[in-house]
Amino acid sequence: MDYNVPNENGFFGEYGGRFVPPQLEDVMKEITEEYFKIKDNSDFLEELQDLYEHYVGRPSPLFHAKNLSKKYGAEIYLKREDLNHTGAHKINHCLGEALLAKKMGKKKLIAETGAGQHGVALATAAALVGLECDIYMGEVDIAKEHPNVIRMKILGATVVPVKSGLKTLKEAVDEAFIAYLQDPVNQFYAIGSVVGPHPFPLMVRDFQSVVGKEAKAQFTTMTGKALPDNIVACVGGGSNAMGLFTPFIKEKNVNIYGVEPAGRGFKTGDHACTLTYGTPGVIHGFKCYLLQDEEGEPSPVYSVASGLDYPGVGPEHSYLKDIGRINYDCINDKEAIDAFFELSRVEGIIPAIESAHAVAFALKLAKQRPGESILINLSGRGDKDIDFVIDNYGKDYGISR
């Protein structure tokens, strides 16, 4: 299979690109040029390697979840991104972006965050490389993801509450963009997923692809088989998914599944199944599938997982959907919370609610494909979610504070 995207203008088929006002044109070009300069530079790669190994704790383990496998009938493997320093896959691209920003002489990292995982990872990277850090976060998410808010503050970042609209991820991106426009020379907008204008979807994917590279090798070592039959990841913007999927895209015998959040139903405003129900549109400087009204206004979105409720999605996912290489499916709040408890109680691993969407889908898949192998990207740990889960769902599972 021939697969070589994006093109030099940042297009994945018709998606992606760089639809930015002139205030950002020069700086986007500069970031692209600098990124291409360092991306294969041995000093840069060594530095990143070293941090991945000694700071993040990479490679993250691949774990054969034997209890789940036995219970559900397929061989289930977990790529343990939850064990990374800061508790999720986000640190992989944050370190890359922070090193790049530092090399470019920037003073401050800024970003949006939904669940707070990207914010924590960026605040961590900023502390490490010695940059200031402002994190934009919707007020709804600030209340829900309180532990992460505190972590960011302890790490020395400024958390800027976003009060507009639904006060969640989309609005946080809006605000971060506006702040960026004020001073693109001294600030670096380290976007939190494989979204935004070129080169971000490409750059974040490249940094995250360490997940898939490791997983591929680990799977072979562990099982003696060349490839897993199925791989699964949740899709918000799509960074953890691209990280796992990238080294497998050309392997046509591997079935690839991206899992979107079906929230509390399929009415507009109740879900964030962008690839399933969206149409091509432009948001935040790039083209992608978008949940929007006929006038191009992004629709309200919702998911129990703060890191998944974004009305757009990475341009590469949009392209992969169109060419039919990846299957995108949906998991609702209830299924995700069930999987959250299932993984906790059967394997002793508390997943992030985002990652629980991938687990829920994999458990369904296991029943349909007995005996096959299923490799899940366990993108983050659930520490951030425990208060929210016990308050809102505890009694359904017989527990209280």
Binding site: Q23, V282, P298
Partner: protein
């Protein structure tokens, strides 16, 4: 007389009031009307215009209303109307359809800052075909080679944002800026200078270097603070147009 382009958000504070405000500006001597079709993600705008867009959208602004608004102005006045909006809105309408509809509604030109000529989703070509001006937005800090590319486009108008950042903060008119404007003008372009212009002094300082000054946030601010003071708006525009 200085040429002034006055900028309005269609539907802010209401449809009727924005129309009355446009009329006041024309009576005050505005030479061009720039109409912003509100979008929820006004990427290059400051808080004032963002909030104005939010108000217009809450009241149910539709793109069709925007074009009706243009038609109504063009039925009454001979003033050229430029429509400004963002990529997401134009793309959803269909770029070609948007340009055609603009043409048939009497729009002279389109300003879509996040559709630069090299990431335009076909906007420039559609404009060429329909005979609508596509107005590139440039900053004085633009790279020389990129500026050359823009100057060699077969488009008459160029919008110079006289400083970086977003709309709504007061700008200083430096010698560097006037030199930049003159440079573009010497290339035969019609130069619209905007961003942070609110006073007769600024207009006077720019008057000989550009073809028209764009006044945006200052007008939106007036409509935010006193939406019914149309006489004051009229004399505000008049004072700008006679400044110098």
């Amino acid at each position: 007389m200085n040429k002034i382009m006055t900028h309005f958000v269609v539907g802010f504070p209401t449809m009727e009031k924005s129309f009355a405000a446009v009329e006041a500006a024309i009576e005050g001597g505005a030479s061009f009307i720039e109409l912003q079709f509100p979008f929820s993600d006004p990427t290059a705008d400051g808080v004032l215009i963002q909030d104005a867009c939010a108000v217009a959208l809450e009241q149910g602004f539709r793109v069709a209303d925007g074009f009706d608004f243009v038609e109504k102005i063009r039925e009454k006045y001979i003033v050229p109307v430029f429509v400004m909006s963002y990529a997401g809105l134009v793309f959803a309408y269909g770029v070609e359809n948007f340009v055609k509809k603009a043409k048939s509604s009497g729009v002279s030109g389109l300003i879509v800052p996040d559709f630069p000529f090299d990431y335009d989703a076909g906007l420039y070509q559609a404009c060429r075909e329909s005979g609508v001006h596509a107005v590139a937005v440039v900053l004085p800090s633009i790279e020389e080679s990129r500026l050359e590319q823009i100057l060699s486009l077969d488009q008459r108008y160029i919008y110079v944002a006289i400083r970086a950042g977003i709309t709504g903060q007061e700008s200083q008119v430096s010698g560097e800026i006037t030199a930049f404007l003159q440079k573009i003008r010497r290339r035969g372009k019609f130069v619209l200078a905007g961003f942070g212009i609110s006073s007769p002094q600024q207009v006077a300082a720019l008057a000989t270097s550009c073809d028209a000054c764009v006044v945006g946030s200052a007008i939106v601010k007036r409509l935010t603070e006193s939406p019914d003071s149309l006489e004051e708006l009229k004399s505000f525009v008049k004072n700008l147009s006679v400044a110098g």
